[in-house]
């Protein structure tokens, strides 16, 4: 094992990008993501990364420039957060619809008003239907590893869809943890975009796609989104084989014999393991499922007969927690106690999570911090 380096989540993502060698990085700063693109700017300035760094005037332009570069068949990376992501919204659909394997670091941050820079997942989850793959990470090492894997997955010709790596603002973007800066070698094959523009073979792009063909393009996207499940499995297996660190679309912690399972994404899903340890000492058979890949959504979660305490660091007004809702939709028999916790960076400890399990009322929604009589 090579030496462990202390790094923030942001710097680990930037280090992985340097290893993946994108040729173009259009970027616009926003807290708490800025350290990613600042680090990449340093790499470009020092010559460690031979890329064209394009400072743009907005996130909409950042994604537009990413699309323009990507369609020439080169590797492209950008990063954003929160309002920046929402400002990209139109172009997120465009990137996925044009089948461009752009990789983006996305630091999860609350949406205003009131002004709030801390962690929440509503920013990325509100981009659920854009056709981007979404992975949520929980450690600095995972942020590094997932970024390397994202390029390989996005660029696989069975996928050719963009990938968003989600990381909790400050909790993970700014924490310092030891990680191993693995050299990927030829883990990420050269990009061969089958529909790249070619001046010697001109074709139309973004042309009118009338009613009799448009749905076919959309079904192609869904076919590739389905195929991405296999590609993700293969990529994670290959990563484990080469570098010794294993990942799965859903990370399970003591789930086999569990009566109750905490389900969460990001750092809450990691700290939930400590809650499960605490509950097991009390004689409660608790486990954790940390959903990593939210798109494509996991279809083979082994949750039959178990009580699920689903913690959503997000909310869909007039409906409920997004993750709880998606689980219920995909697994109609699931028994769920929905907990809304961590919005706007609300402090949620493993002790709080253990209490969510102890006091769970199946089939209800509970907002952490709101008095019971107002729920």
């Amino acid at each position: 094992m090579s030496e462990l380096i202390m790094s923030t989540g942001n710097k680990a993502v930037a280090a992985a990008v340097k290893m993946a060698k994108p040729l173009v990085v259009p970027a616009y700063p926003i807290t708490p993501q800025t350290e990613i693109i600042e680090s990449i700017a340093d790499y470009v300035e020092s010559g460690e990364l031979k890329a064209r760094y394009i400072p743009v005037e907005s996130e909409h332009s950042a994604m537009t420039a990413a699309i323009g570069a990507s369609i020439t068949g080169v590797r492209v990376f950008t990063a954003t957060s929160s309002h920046g992501l929402l400002y990209m919204h139109e172009m997120l659909h465009w990137a996925a619809g044009a089948r461009l394997p752009i990789v983006m670091g996305q630091v999860n941050r609350t949406l205003a008003p009131g002004w709030n820079i801390w962690a929440e997942h509503t920013d990325a989850l509100s981009q659920r239907d854009t056709g981007w793959l979404q992975v949520y990470v929980s450690t600095v090492q995972e942020a590094y590893d997932a970024t390397l894997m994202a390029f390989r997955i996005a660029e696989d010709n069975r996928v050719l869809l963009p990938v968003m790596i989600n990381m909790d603002g400050f909790l993970l973007s700014h924490i310092m943890q030891p990680f191993e800066m693995t050299e990927p070698g030829d883990f990420i094959p050269p990009l061969d975009l089958p529909h790249k523009i070619d001046v010697k073979d001109p074709k139309g792009y973004g042309a009118m796609s009338p009613a009799n063909v448009h749905y076919q393009f959309r079904f192609d996207m869904e076919k590739c989104m389905r195929a991405s499940r296999t590609v993700i499995d293969e990529t994670e297996a290959e990563f484990a084989k080469r570098f010794g660190r294993t990942y799965a679309p859903v990370e399970e912690y003591f789930c086999d014999d569990a009566d109750v399972i905490i389900i969460a994404m990001g750092t809450l899903g990691k700290e939930a393991e400590v809650a499960a340890d605490l509950l097991r000492k009390e004689g409660v058979k608790a486990g954790v499922m940390r959903i990593r890949w939210f798109r494509p959504f996991p279809l083979d979660m082994n949750i039959k007969g178990k009580d699920l305490v689903v913690i959503d660091r997000d909310y869909s007004f007039g409906f409920g927690g997004v993750v709880a809702g998606e689980i219920q939709a995909r697994y109609p028999d699931a028994k769920i106690a929905s907990v809304i916790a961590g919005l706007g960076g609300q402090e949620v400890t493993y002790e709080d999570m253990a209490e969510f399990v102890r006091s769970r009322k199946m089939g209800t929604e509970f907002w952490f911090g709101i008095p019971q009589e107002e729920q």
Binding site: M6, M176, K270, E347
Partner: protein, 176 residues
């Protein structure tokens, strides 16, 4: 798991101190995380940073509410902040001061005049004495990590040898 809360003011290097502490612990073969609490604070405002050291990977991201040790880089924060909040019974306090200090019974209290050391070593940036490298020496003396790993953590961060001299001076000054 050993949990440390550092009290300082924005701009004094509390965050860098946390990183060097965690780095030194990792160099000793431990697992560690360092995280500042990012509030709305700016330069000069009281801030806290957290360090966790353990024999296994640290899986906790929430703030430290029951620290084993508190490190007070700037004693003037005590005018407005209850630095002892949640400190475990029998826990340790390290304070940067040249004055006599008194804390409630039941805690182990250690001190060194980090500000004086920084001034003597001419370790001053933009008019402020640098406290984050001498504190590494003081905490090595308290056994938080080895002296060698503390020096390596400083050298990984700062090239100027005055930093390690200040750390050595603090190491000598702390009475255990």
């Amino acid at each position: 798991m050993y949990e440390i809360r550092i009290h300082s003011r924005g701009g004094q290097g509390g965050v860098t101190a946390a990183r060097m502490m965690a780095t030194a612990a990792v160099k000793d073969g431990k697992f560690a995380t360092a995280c500042p609490f990012y509030g709305a604070e700016r330069r000069g405002a009281p801030i806290v940073s957290f360090v966790r050291i353990d024999d296994a990977p640290v899986r906790i991201y929430s703030q430290i509410n029951k620290p084993d040790m508190i490190v007070i880089l700037d004693p003037t924060v005590m005018d407005t902040v209850n630095v002892l909040d949640g400190l475990k019974e029998g826990g340790s306090i390290f304070i940067n001061t040249h004055e006599e200090v008194s804390f409630p019974a039941g805690f182990k209290v250690y001190k060194a005049d980090l500000t004086g050391i920084a001034l003597r070593e001419n370790l001053v940036v933009a008019g402020s004495p640098i406290l984050n490298t001498p504190v590494i020496g003081a905490l090595a003396k308290l056994g938080l990590f080895s002296r060698e790993s503390g020096v390596k953590a400083i050298n990984d961060t700062f090239a100027d040898p005055r930093n390690t001299s200040a750390a050595k001076a603090a190491y000598e000054e702390v009475i255990v």
